[in-house]
Symmetry: C2
């Protein structure tokens, strides 16, 4: 039996309503995955995540392999047992982190040598060890090692990099086949901002018949419009019967725009990181809780929001906590933002189920305050260390 | 009707089982009050506190009057409404903080001028304004401004200071009488480590017929044995029919020793502050979660503990969170320590109810690893800013 099954329930233009079935529960799509970089969605407990409506979370292979180490995680029951989350978990390959967080990297055909961002110790990651680490973590959906090219990159560099990523992919598939069959393997489509390379990447990746497909290498500084276009192109080329995951994206309106272009799965550190910086997401756009206009505001962050922060506390109190650097502020604002993101996905699914996604999208963007893609650089993709 | 009523249920030697009735709920004594210095028990929400078994919390007049300001708190429903805690709240007078946190203090008959530890701004606190601030906060039990003398102090200085504290107390009582009668006023017994001055302090304070009596000026660096002796003396002199509160104490074994000497109420920042430093309280004594011996330990912090940290997570995972500086570590360790403190009080109450406090005390101290008072300086009293 396949480790995951994707059911396409309904489409509305390119947008898709679906369901990913896993042995640890169903994921209604389009879905957002809160990010548990180090095995914890920052400041939130598994019960907080359930209360917020999370059906799947993402963890970072790179971080966990360095600390506490994947061997230790395996010994303590795999990542699910270790962190107390019994729902599905997806891990990235660590490629993005190796190429964005570490120094003194040496990329070879064999893999990539790098120094840990924690202590400078030397490590080597190959497509095979990358799969082995994710097997030790025991998660539900894993990813192959890919090269994440610094942007902007020339077409020639991008082509060379894509070829390496594809050769690594073939080795990852072989390593994955040696596993027990309990984990799904997604392919990562690279190719930068070059349409022809993206087409070639899709063709070569899909030829391997993987369980799902990630769109990588976006939200790393390119103009938003370009990100949307590449997303639309790749999603259009991918097979209908597998989930599509846009890595590291993004802002609330990015999620709506990407769903409109056929994406099913998302992850991003924005809801938690921005919460810790005092930025609160609401349907009327983001608000900055430290602003003096909230000092005596008895209203909740967002009327009608079911999160613990909105049910029990005023903006005035949350602003006080934030100004006084009380840890409770980070938790309650994070809980709100994650609840907002997951609520947005649920609202998109309801609109898709009712055949009203187009109207939802325009209503949402209008109220949120985004009229059109402004072409400003977008770099939501990052890890949260 | 009196704002609070104390019921003495049973005694066992000097130890007392009782109940403080307030319009916001009963407090079973002996009781421990988690400390919400700035209107938040650090990292915990009101529902966390309820889950841990808290029946009353303490907040700091000094901190709240400076930030966000008592006027703002009153405007937003008083401290109960502001912070979302509907149980009883006790505030200290701010005297301890003015004398321990601020610089450039000027003490006069009228009151004390000081500079804020936040921004250096100049403030003046008199017995009357101190009562007014606590009225604005709308809490259930308030305290009069007292002078907290730096230790060690000469008998002459202590006597002079006590006389001022007593004159301030008379003014506080007059200011309190102008209130709406909804708040209880405790007296604070000062007098340093001098038995004759403590006797005089008790006499003069009790003569005013207050709702309860706090024992101040201890746990500020004096030998533990001396702290116990002064506590025993003062508790012995205080009337039986009112609650006795030992301010800012202390370590788990201090609570047991002070209950044995007739104390009913406690507060201390240790459970939360020490949690943030990785110290975890258990019946077998404290453990340091960062220790490598816990790296692969699948056991909970303490077997049988009902807190969220112990129900869902291993020491290995909590150690990982702590080493990785994940915010969830601070919350779960704080929740455990507060649960431990409140559980210890509940265990003492059960032992008192069953007439077995003496056996409980010796069993607890034996297992906890404290054989006798070691005479080492003790300074658990502090605020948590």
């Amino acid at each position: 039996m396949a480790p995951i099954r994707f059911e396409l329930i309904r489409t509305d233009g390119a947008a898709r309503l679906g369901r990913i079935r896993t042995r640890r529960g169903d994921i209604e799509t389009p879905a957002f995955m809160p990010v548990a970089t180090q095995g914890s969605v920052k400041s939130l407990s598994p019960s907080d995540l359930r209360a917020a409506g999370a059906q799947i979370i993402l963890a970072n292979t790179y971080h966990l392999s360095l600390r506490p180490g994947h061997g230790l995680v395996r010994e303590l029951g795999g990542l699910h047992g270790f962190m107390g989350w019994d729902g599905p978990i997806l891990t990235d390959s660590g490629g993005f982190q190796v190429f964005s967080l570490t120094k003194l990297r040496k990329v070879s055909e064999e893999g990539v040598e790098f120094r840990s961002h924690l202590d400078g110790s030397l490590h080597f990651l190959s497509p095979e060890t990358c799969v082995e680490i994710q097997q030790a973590l025991g998660v539900d959906i894993i990813h192959p090692l890919d090269e994440c090219l610094a942007q902007p990159a020339t077409p020639t560099d991008t082509e060379r990099s894509l070829a390496l990523t594809l050769r690594w992919l073939a080795r990852s598939v072989a390593a994955h086949r040696k596993g027990d069959g309990s984990q799904a393997l997604f392919g990562i489509v690279q190719g930068g901002i070059h349409e022809d390379l993206r087409r070639r990447a899709v063709e070569a990746t899909v030829a391997l018949g993987l369980d799902g497909y990630a769109i990588g290498g976006l939200a790393v500084g390119e103009p938003t419009e370009r990100m949307y276009d590449i997303t639309a192109l790749v999603a259009h080329l991918l097979p209908r019967d597998h989930p599509r995951y846009l890595m590291g994206v993004g802002k609330p309106h990015d999620l709506v725009e990407a769903v409109a272009r056929g994406v099913d799965l998302f992850d991003c550190v924005m809801p938690t990181r921005n919460a810790r910086n005092g930025q609160v997401f609401t349907a009327d756009g983001p608000l900055t809780i430290s602003h003096s206009r909230y000092a005596r505001d008895p209203a909740p962050l967002e009327a009608g929001c079911p999160c613990e922060g909105c049910r029990g506390f005023s903006r005035a109190y949350l602003r006080h906590l934030f100004m006084a650097r009380e840890l409770l502020a980070y938790r309650l604002l994070s809980l709100h933002n994650v609840t907002f993101y997951l609520g947005l996905m649920a609202a998109m699914r309801r609109a898709l189920a009712a055949g009203g996604f187009r109207a939802f999208r325009s209503r949402f963007l209008d109220r949120y305050g985004v009229e059109s893609h402004d072409g400003s650089p977008d770099s939501t993709r990052d890890t949260e260390a």
